[in-house]
């Protein structure tokens, strides 16, 4: 075990806030009733679920009855896309998405494609951002869904969601009534101020464990009036959109995390961005031959994605891990085949840069002196790996 440990992988998951853990622990013991039961124990659990639902709804400016709790972001994305497309299939079988979606969106689209749906995957260009005019050009009479993430999980680029939402409304007013807009906001919730009415989306995906709550709980915002086919059937829970006994402790934890995210939004944002900016400034001064991936302005404030020339991301990741520093890379080498990050490749960068990309994501529990430590460790690791790299030979 290294002497010091620094967690800079807050986009993968966040440490559980002790206040959230305490609320959850209380719910485990005190709200054990089945929230669907009519007796007092059940109603006590139901009340806890309702309180949490209000908090989660408030985080994105939604109404309480527009929130469907799920087991996490992946399930919410499956429910949103599959559920809506199954309900809307009689109106058309075309979906528009981007080329940098999370696998839980890209995978659902690919599976629908195998079943005969047409998928348009929009490019993101060098800055990692979808162009609204490309979305407009891709809409056809048979398009029933646009699904584009709010912010990317690897490079943090913020997509023009409100502009796409406005486009969808325009098309509806022009007569295309069966067109819906979903956004996977797992990375954006709690990092950006989001309001579903301002965004103009019909469906929005959230995950609690990116907000200092535990894994196993997420939610889908479903605008009132939007019809979905439930993907979990066999129960009346969540207004028949997600059958299964409610995970009351998880839901309570999500509610507490949502409340804290709203109350502490300004201080968390300022803190994370100050650390990220300081880190980037120092790295640029101390390490040559690096490329910052994605738009420099329109991106999440807590995340930095950097490609290091001449070296491979996984080697750097494990070198950092040996010194107690946790980061992530989008590339994976397995069974002799390499899968460079599809997101970095979508930016049009060469394979070497795509292989050498590392994501550093900061969080509320990181301290300034940790950044100094990470920089020292990183500088040493990059020097060591470059000294070993045949790519530095002329």
């Amino acid at each position: 075990m290294p002497a010091r440990r620094v967690y800079l992988d807050n986009s993968a998951t966040t440490p559980v806030d002790p206040r959230v853990a305490a609320a959850m622990a209380r719910a485990v013991v005190e709200n054990f009733g089945n929230a669907s039961s009519v007796h007092g124990f059940g109603q006590q659990a139901r009340a806890a679920v309702d309180r949490a639902r209000r908090e989660v709804a408030a985080l994105v400016g939604a109404k309480q009855n527009e929130i469907v709790f799920t087991s996490g972001g992946t399930e919410a994305n499956n429910l949103a896309i599959r559920g809506l497309c199954e309900a809307a299939a009689t109106h058309g079988r075309h979906i528009i998405t981007s080329s940098i979606e999370h696998p839980s969106v890209a995978g659902v689209c690919a599976s629908l494609e195998k079943r005969g749906w047409e998928i348009t995957r929009l490019p993101v260009y060098k800055n990692g951002i979808v162009r609204v005019e490309d979305v407009a050009a891709a809409v056809r009479p048979e398009t029933v869904m646009i699904t584009i993430m709010s912010a990317n999980n690897e490079i943090g680029t913020i997509q023009p969601i409100a502009e796409i939402g406005a486009l969808v409304h325009e098309r509806r007013e022009a007569g295309q009534k069966f067109l819906w807009f979903h956004t996977d906001a797992v990375q954006a919730v709690g990092r950006l101020r989001l309001n579903v009415d301002e965004l103009g989306c019909d469906l929005l995906t959230m995950s609690a464990h990116k907000l200092y709550a535990p894994k196993g709980i997420g939610a889908l915002y479903v605008r009132r009036g939007v019809r979905l086919h439930g993907q979990n059937v066999g129960g009346h829970q969540e207004r028949e959109r997600r059958a299964g006994t409610e995970n009351v402790p998880g839901i309570v934890a999500f509610g507490e995390a949502a409340k804290l995210a709203r109350e502490e939004f300004n201080q968390r944002s300022a803190h994370d961005q100050a650390l990220r900016d300081r880190f980037e400034k120092t790295i640029v001064e101390r390490i040559s031959d690096i490329v910052m991936n994605g738009d420099r302005e329109r991106r999440l404030g807590h995340l930095s994605n950097i490609s290091f020339r001449f070296i491979e991301g996984e080697g750097l990741l494990i070198n950092l891990d040996l010194e107690g520093v946790a980061v992530s890379t989008g590339s994976a080498c397995s069974s002799g085949t390499l899968e460079p990050s599809p997101v970095i490749r979508a930016l049009g960068v060469d394979e070497e840069l795509a292989r050498g990309s590392i994501r550093f994501s900061f969080g509320k529990d990181n301290a300034e002196d940790e950044i100094e430590y990470v920089v020292e460790v990183l500088v040493r690791a990059v020097e060591r790996l470059r000294a070993l790299s045949p790519l530095t030979l002329v």
Binding site: E314, G315, C333, S335, G336, L385, S389, P390
Partner: protein, 118 residues
């Protein structure tokens, strides 16, 4: 599978890294599928590996296989070195996940190429 202590040690402290300017056998091989690359330079004298250096680009097992291989062959007779197999190298490292065995294959292949260039 968790990497062995030896694996981690070689990753953090690569042995015999670099190039030999007066090498009499050099090979530079690339795995055509994943792009991992290994370069070995040797000084072979009186049928013995007198000096060895390596450079590597790729996933951690590729970096470590290069480092461990250089220790394994340093000072050895050429006929002994020629008998080394991927399994010998994997055993020396303390094992690798099966999906990473290609790293050991690349190391042995590069070594054999270098010896053929003598």
């Amino acid at each position: 599978m968790v990497y062995s202590a030896k694996f981690k040690d070689h990753l953090a402290h690569p042995r015999n890294a670099g190039e030999l300017s007066d090498a009499n056998a050099v090979a530079d091989e690339t795995n055509p599928i994943c792009g991992d690359r290994l370069r070995i330079s040797l000084i072979v004298k009186d049928d013995r590996i007198e000096a060895v250096r390596y450079l590597a680009y790729g996933c951690p097992p590729t970096l470590v296989c290069g480092s461990v291989l250089t220790e394994l062959i340093s000072g050895k007779r050429v006929d002994e070195v020629k008998r080394l197999t991927r399994a010998d190298l994997l055993g020396e490292i303390g094992g690798l996940p099966s999906r990473k065995h290609h790293a050991a294959a690349l190391a042995i292949e590069t070594l054999n190429s270098a010896l053929q260039n003598l």
